[in-house]
């Protein structure tokens, strides 16, 4: 449909519309609106200055949080440390172990009746006492080996002095060369470790050492001092 197809009445209206006044927005209102528009642009996209300030504020906020978190961690660590130090269960511990291994070999060409491999090792580790006034507690130590010397109150195994004054009834039965197992408490006497025997068990009698490979194994009755005492 073209405008020429309009009726004369319609054509007249169209002419009237074409020539109707063209209202314009006054310049002051145009400028005011332009400023409003640019303010809105800053709000929607943000201007670079605002972004920089916002970024700085955000960063300082992050740093502040970081400092707070670190302070809390340090505080907790301090509390844990204080609790550990002041814990009442912190008692001194002395751990001492001594191992003596005795092995009997079967008959060998050299006819060595008994080969005793003894490797006495003693390790003592002490945890420093929490308070200096506390006295160290002796720990149990086990030593196995042949008795090299016997006195009234002591026996010596691998040059280790062992007090036997509490077990005189057993020691009277010992002779040099007897393989024994000693359980006792170790303690320091000046610069030397002394063991106070609590229990002495005869492992092997001395006749094995004298070169009789076919000797019978030690009987149960002779194994412990308690048994010895009973007998």
């Amino acid at each position: 449909m073209t405008e020429s197809e309009f009726t004369s009445n319609e054509q007249q209206i169209i002419e009237q519309l074409h020539h109707s006044p063209a209202p314009t927005m006054n310049q002051e209102a145009v400028e005011r609106l332009r400023q409003q528009l640019f303010d809105e642009v800053d709000q929607v996209w943000g201007n670079p200055g605002d972004q920089l300030i916002e970024m700085t504020v955000q960063h300082s906020s992050h740093i502040r949080w970081l400092v707070i978190v670190l302070a809390v961690i340090l505080l907790l660590a301090g509390i844990v440390l204080v609790m550990l130090i002041s814990r009442p269960g912190a008692t001194p511990v002395i751990q001492a172990t001594a191992t003596v291994t005795a092995m009997q070999t079967s008959a060998s060409p050299t006819n060595s009746p008994l080969l005793v491999q003894a490797s006495p090792t003693a390790a003592a580790s002490t945890t420093p006492p929490a308070t200096p006034s506390e006295t160290p507690v002796a720990s149990l130590i086990v030593i196995e080996g042949p008795v090299s010397q016997i006195t009234d109150d002591y026996i010596i195994i691998f040059d280790q002095l062992i007090e036997t004054d509490r077990l005189t009834d057993v020691t009277t039965q010992l002779t040099p060369g007897v393989l024994v197992r000693v359980e006792g408490e170790a303690h320091l006497d000046e610069h030397r470790i002394v063991i106070s025997a609590v229990q002495i068990t005869v492992i092997q009698s001395s006749d094995l050492r004298s070169g009789q490979p076919g000797a019978p194994p030690p009987s149960d009755s002779g194994r412990s001092s308690r048994s010895s005492r009973d007998s």
Binding site: M1, F6, N9, E10, I13, I14, Q16, L17, H18, H19, S20, P21, A22, P23, T24, M25, A29, V30, L33, R34, Q36, L37, F38, E40, V41, V44, W45
Partner: protein, 187 residues
């Protein structure tokens, strides 16, 4: 439909929030939008308020605006039309009860001024009696001098549908004008 070659670039820059590009779009379309709005509402101040709202919405919606090849003005006229509808809804504006105030006229011959003013007033009164779609097509086509294709883009109609709408709108306007003139003659 011809779209200025640099409009796409201008829109892309405006899309990124470049004030210069947004300012240029504003300068290009402000008076045309104001004219359209002024014909749809009764007062200058209301027309200014709505025009402000149109361009503020433009800025807010620009980040989401996708260039489809349609003229930018089509999008602005749609925003304007929506703003006017919103305004009528908000204020429960009844266009049939209020007589529009006189539009600022172009310079006319003083001898014809009374007759011309009377004709223009009746024309505007008759125009505002029409449904919004009829008003839109008549104002955009004959006051804002837009092509069928441009108006079709604004109103989201095909050109054929727009031509039919335009024909009906003209008939309705003619009837409304006759009614007003008849009532005026009786008084």
């Amino acid at each position: 439909m011809q779209v200025p070659a640099d409009e796409k670039t201008l829109i892309a820059r405006a899309n990124r929030g470049e004030k210069a590009a947004i300012g240029q779009l504003y300068n290009t379309h402000i008076q045309a939008i104001y004219k359209y709005v002024r014909y749809r509402v009764d007062t200058d101040s209301l027309a200014e308020d709505i025009t402000s709202e149109v361009f503020l919405r433009m800025v807010r919606e620009l980040p989401r605006y996708n260039y489809t090849g349609a003229p930018f003005s089509a999008w602005l006229y749609r925003i304007a039309s929506n703003c006017i509808t919103d305004m009528f809804r908000r204020q429960r504006y009844d266009t049939t009860e209020e007589l529009p105030e006189e539009l600022p006229g172009e310079h006319v011959d003083p001898l014809d001024s009374v007759a011309h003013a009377e004709n223009q007033a009746q024309l505007r009164q008759a125009l505002q009696l029409l449904p919004p779609d009829y008003q839109n097509v008549l104002i955009l086509r004959f006051v804002n001098d837009m092509s069928h294709a441009e108006v079709a883009a604004v109103m989201e109609k095909t050109e054929g549908a727009l031509r039919v709408l335009q024909h009906r709108a003209l008939k309705s306007l003619a009837n409304a004008l006759q009614t007003i003139q008849r009532e005026g003659g009786e008084q």
